[in-house]
């Protein structure tokens, strides 16, 4: 009975670890996979292999994968609107053109090996800029959308062209915040 549960969960965990899009979750799945696998080695009377699998699978492999994942940066996006009077989730924008817009940005981040983390908040833009933890702030006023991006962030440069071309009906305006870069005079 226990063996059957563990064998089925082993297949499910392997599939989830391969198919999950967020790689941090895949590391968790792989950790549980190796633990369950190690118990099955023990069940089939191979305790030597079980010890090696438990040590390497839970300790060393986790560190190696997480270190490799450090190159996979988190990209913080804030979605702010006065219509959000309380703590809300993404059901507010479901089914509208705005949802397509947000999904497009998320897909864009996935293609750049960035991991988008979306926060919905009613806070005004100035406070969000002052916290300094958001790379991209989207402000919605009725049908108008304003995108605020850092001046030094090169991802926003690439995003600008894409959004203006595809979402003309949303009246998109892009503004950059951050320190003004001084133009260096190039002396030839």
């Amino acid at each position: 009975m226990v063996e059957l549960i563990l064998l089925i969960s082993l297949v499910l965990l392997a599939l989830l670890a391969i198919r999950s899009e967020i790689l941090r979750v895949a590391v968790v799945f792989f950790g549980i996979f190796s633990l369950v696998c190690s118990f099955l080695y023990l069940y089939y009377q191979a305790p030597d292999v079980a010890i090696a699998e438990a040590v390497i699978g839970s300790g060393l492999i986790t560190l190696l994968y997480l270190t490799a994942l450090k190159r996979y940066k988190v990209y913080n996006i804030a979605y702010t609107s006065d219509a959000f009077t309380q703590v809300t989730d993404r059901t507010i924008v479901e089914g509208t053109r705005h949802e397509h817009f947000v999904r497009e940005i998320e897909e864009f981040c996935f293609n750049r090996e960035l991991e988008p983390q979306l926060v919905f908040t009613p806070d005004p833009v100035d406070e969000l800029v002052e916290t300094g933890q958001f790379d991209l702030i989207i402000r919605q006023e009725g049908e108008r959308i304003t995108v605020y991006g850092n001046r030094e962030n090169f991802v926003v440069d690439e995003l600008e062209m894409l959004l203006i071309l595809r979402y003309e009906d949303l009246n998109i305006k892009i503004e950059r915040f951050g320190e003004e870069q001084e133009q260096e005079e190039i002396v030839v």
Binding site: D48, I56, G59, L63, L64
Partner: protein, 133 residues
């Protein structure tokens, strides 16, 4: 190297790792020394010894550890692994000295355990410390 207290260090993790430290050492030594009687042996005990350095890496992620000496030590231990069985097993010394069979197993387990521990420590520190910042 100066210690950065303002970083991401957590007091609970530090104290818990300090409590776990001697247990990990004792358990790894037990696995290595008892490898010929109970499951375990050189490789498993060495991997547990390497997780000792992993635990230290959790507590002090900013601090470097000089692991250069372990490179040469690992190569020397490989020479020992090559020489001792060459004399004892391949040259047939075990058929003349039956009393040395068990000490030979214990010695080889210790040598293999140290070699694996040094090797995996190098892997952990190269990857976790140098490559990941």
């Amino acid at each position: 190297m100066k210690i950065d207290i303002s970083g991401t260090r957590s007091e609970i993790v530090s104290i818990m790792t300090g409590v776990l430290y001697p247990f990990i050492i004792v358990f790894a030594v037990y696995i290595i020394l008892n490898g010929h009687n109970t499951p375990g042996g050189g490789f498993q005990g060495g991997a547990i010894l390497a997780t000792l350095f992993l635990a230290r890496f959790i507590v002090l992620p900013e601090n470097d550890l000089d692991v250069h000496w372990s490179h040469n030590l690992e190569k020397m231990l490989f020479a020992v692994i090559l020489l001792v069985p060459g004399v004892f097993v391949f040259a047939g010394l075990q058929y003349h000295f039956a009393a040395l069979r068990e000490p030979y197993l214990i010695f080889m387990n210790i040598v293999i355990g140290l070699k694996v521990a040094f090797g995996l420590t190098i892997v952990v520190f190269r990857f976790g410390f140098y490559e990941g910042r």
